[in-house]
C-alpha cells in the first residue's frame, strides 16, 4: 500500500532524526539513565544536568528563566496545570476565569473542572474570522477574575490571537495570563516578557519532538508557583511530582533548540508551500477559508467545501493524511466546535479539511494535495443531487 501524503502536522509530527539522536544518547543501558532525583550518585546527577540543559533550551525559545520550566506529560497536562493550578494559586483573589469558546479542549476541560468546584468561567465568542478581540477580554474582566487563558494560534484554523495586547490588559489588572502556545511555538516569535505571558503551555510532539512530554513555563518575574494537580514525591518544587523522563525532556530541549535555530527560514518555506496549496484549490467554486485570511500561522490551512458531504470528502482524499476538525474530534466523529463557534453551519463544519504542513513537507506533497482535492471535489459534486 502506498503511504498517503502526511499533511496532519497539527495533530502530531514525525520526529526529527536529530531529536531522536539526542534521545538515544540517554536511552542507553550503560549511561544516561539515572533518576534525576537521585542526587547522591553520578547517574542521578548526570540526568539532572541533562534536564538543566533542556530547560535552558526551552526557556531560551520563549525568553524565560530555566528554573521555572515545569515538565509535564504534554500540553493537555500543561493546560490543566496552568489553568487549574494557576487559578487555585490565586484563589484568595477570586474565583472567576476568562477563556474563549475556541480554546483547545484541554483548556475548556480544565475550566469545566474549575466550574465543578465553584468557579465562574466566561467563555468569549470569537468573531467570524476566529479572533478574540482584546476589547472583549477587557470587557469580561471582573474584580474577582484571577486568570485569563487564551491560546496563541488555534489548532484547527491557525488563527493567531493578539496575545501581547491581551497580556498587557491582564498585567495591568494583576490577573494571571495563561497561553497555550502549542501550535505557535517555532512558528511565531514567543517572548513571555514582551507579550506579558505569565504561564505558557508547550509540548514537543507538534514540533517534530517526542509525544508525551510538555512544559508549563512560569514567568519568574510574576508568578513563582502554581498549585499542583498531581501529588507525590515532591519533584519540581512540589509543582509536578513523578520521576522525570530524561530522554523525553532531552528530546523536548533539542526540539526547542532546533525551532529557535531554524524558525525564520522554515516559516518562509512553509508559507510558500501553503500559498501554493491555497492558490491551487481556491479557484474551485464554494471553497471557503476558515478563519482570518492574514492573522494566521503559515502551517495550517482549513477549508470548508460547499455542497459535498464531509465523510465522503475525507474518503475521497484518502491519499492525503489530513484531518477534518482536530484529531481529538476525529475520534469522536462530531463536527468541530471551533468551526461552529466561527458561525459555520454543521454541514460546512463537517465538510472541512485541515491541511497542516511541517518540516518534512515537500512541494511534491502539495502538488499531490491539490490534485487529490480537486479530483475529490469534482467527483462528489458530480454525484451530488444538489448540483442538479
Amino acid at each position: 500500500m502506498i503511504k498517503p501524503v502526511y499533511l496532519d502536522y497539527a495533530a502530531t509530527t514525525p520526529m526529527d532524526p536529530r531529536v531522536r539522536q539526542r534521545m538515544l544518547e540517554v536511552m542507553g543501558h550503560q549511561s544516561g539513565f539515572g533518576n534525576p532525583a537521585s542526587v547522591t550518585h553520578v547517574f542521578g546527577r548526570t540526568a539532572a544536568a541533562a534536564i538543566e540543559q533542556a530547560a535552558a533550551e526551552v526557556a531560551a525559545l520563549v525568553n524565560a528563566n530555566p528554573d521555572y520550566v515545569v515538565w509535564t506529560s504534554g500540553a493537555t497536562e500543561s493546560d490543566n496545570l496552568g489553568v487549574i493550578g494557576g487559578a487555585r494559586y490565586r484563589q484568595a483573589q477570586g474565583r472567576h476565569v476568562v477563556t474563549a469558546a475556541t480554546e483547545h479542549k484541554a483548556v475548556l476541560g480544565a475550566c469545566a473542572e474549575l466550574q465543578r468546584h465553584g468557579y465562574e468561567v466566561t467563555y468569549l465568542q470569537p468573531t467570524e474570522m476566529g479572533l478574540i478581540e482584546p476589547a472583549a477580554v477587557s470587557a469580561a474582566l471582573r474584580a474577582d477574575t484571577v486568570l485569563v487563558s487564551i491560546m496563541h494560534a488555534n489548532n484547527e484554523t491557525g488563527v493567531v490571537q493578539d496575545i501581547a495586547a491581551i497580556g498587557a490588559l491582564c498585567r495591568a489588572a494583576g490577573i494571571l495570563f495563561h497561553v497555550d502556545a502549542v501550535q505557535s511555538a517555532g512558528k511565531l516569535p514567543l517572548d513571555m516578557q514582551a507579550q506579558y505571558v505569565d504561564l505558557l503551555t508547550l509540548n514537543a510532539h507538534k514540533a517534530c519532538g517526542p509525544k508525551g512530554v510538555g512544559a508549563l513555563v512560569l514567568n519568574a518575574a510574576t508568578v513563582k508557583r502554581v498549585e499542583p494537580i498531581l501529588f507525590g514525591g515532591g519533584q519540581q518544587r512540589g509543582m509536578r511530582p513523578g520521576t522525570l523522563p530524561v530522554h523525553q525532556i532531552v528530546g523536548m530541549g533539542e526540539t526547542a533548540r532546533l525551532l529557535q535555530l531554524e524558525m525564520a527560514e522554515e516559516v518562509q518555506r512553509i508559507l510558500t508551500l501553503r500559498d501554493n496549496l491555497w492558490s491551487g484549490i481556491n479557484d474551485l467554486p464554494g471553497i471557503l477559508l476558515n478563519g482570518h485570511p492574514e492573522q494566521r500561522i503559515a502551517s495550517i490551512l482549513t477549508v470548508s467545501v460547499a455542497g459535498v458531504e464531509g465523510e465522503s470528502l475525507r474518503f475521497a482524499v484518502d491519499d492525503l493524511a489530513v484531518t477534518s476538525g482536530s484529531a481529538c474530534n476525529s475520534a469522536t466523529g462530531e463536527p468541530s466546535y471551533v468551526l461552529r463557534a466561527l458561525g459555520r453551519p454543521d454541514v460546512l463544519a463537517e465538510a472541512s479539511l485541515r491541511f497542516s504542513l511541517g518540516r518534512f513537507t515537500q512541494p511534491d506533497d502539495i502538488q499531490q494535495a491539490i490534485t487529490s482535492f480537486r479530483r475529490a471535489v469534482t467527483h462528489l459534486r458530480a454525484l451530488s443531487p444538489e448540483e442538479l
Binding site: E309, E311, A316, V347, L383, P385
Partner: protein
C-alpha cells in the same frame, strides 16, 4: 468511530463516475441537514426500468449503496423499487448499524420513485 472501515466493494462503488440518469420516474429523499440526500431516476420502457441512476449527497456507504441498488434495478420491473428483497445485497457493503437512518433515506427515495411511477402511470404519462 473508525471511518476506515470501508470494505473494497464500498471503495469500488464510491469511485465510479456518475451514471446516466433516466428522467421518466424520479424520487428524492433526505437533505444535507439530515446527513444524506438521495435522488433516483430512471426511464421506463416496455414495463422495465432503464438508465437507472442516482445522485447522492451522502457518506461513502450510502453512495455505494445507491450505486449497487441502481445497478440492480437496471432492467427490473418498477415494483422492484419497493421489493423488500431489493436491499439484501447491501449486506455486502457491511454498513455500520449507526447508519440505519441513512439507509432509510435511500429507501424513501426508492419509494418516492415508485410513487412517482404509479402517479405517472395513473395519468397515462407512461406507456
Amino acid at each position: 468511530m473508525n471511518e476506515a472501515a470501508y470494505n473494497a466493494l464500498v471503495a469500488e462503488r464510491f469511485d465510479r463516475a456518475p451514471t446516466a440518469l433516466g428522467s421518466a420516474v424520479v424520487g428524492r429523499a433526505g437533505s444535507p441537514a439530515q446527513g444524506a440526500a438521495v435522488y433516483f431516476a430512471a426511464d421506463v420502457e416496455a414495463g422495465r426500468l432503464h438508465n437507472v441512476g442516482f445522485r447522492a449527497f451522502a457518506c461513502p456507504h450510502i453512495i455505494a449503496a445507491c450505486s449497487l441498488t441502481a445497478a440492480k434495478l437496471e432492467g427490473a420491473r418498477p415494483e422492484q423499487l419497493v421489493d423488500p428483497t431489493l436491499l439484501e445485497s447491501l449486506k455486502e457493503l457491511e454498513i455500520p448499524v449507526e447508519k440505519t437512518g441513512k439507509i432509510l433515506i435511500l429507501k424513501d427515495a426508492l419509494s418516492a420513485c415508485y410513487a412517482n411511477f404509479q402517479a405517472r402511470q395513473a395519468t397515462g404519462a407512461l406507456s
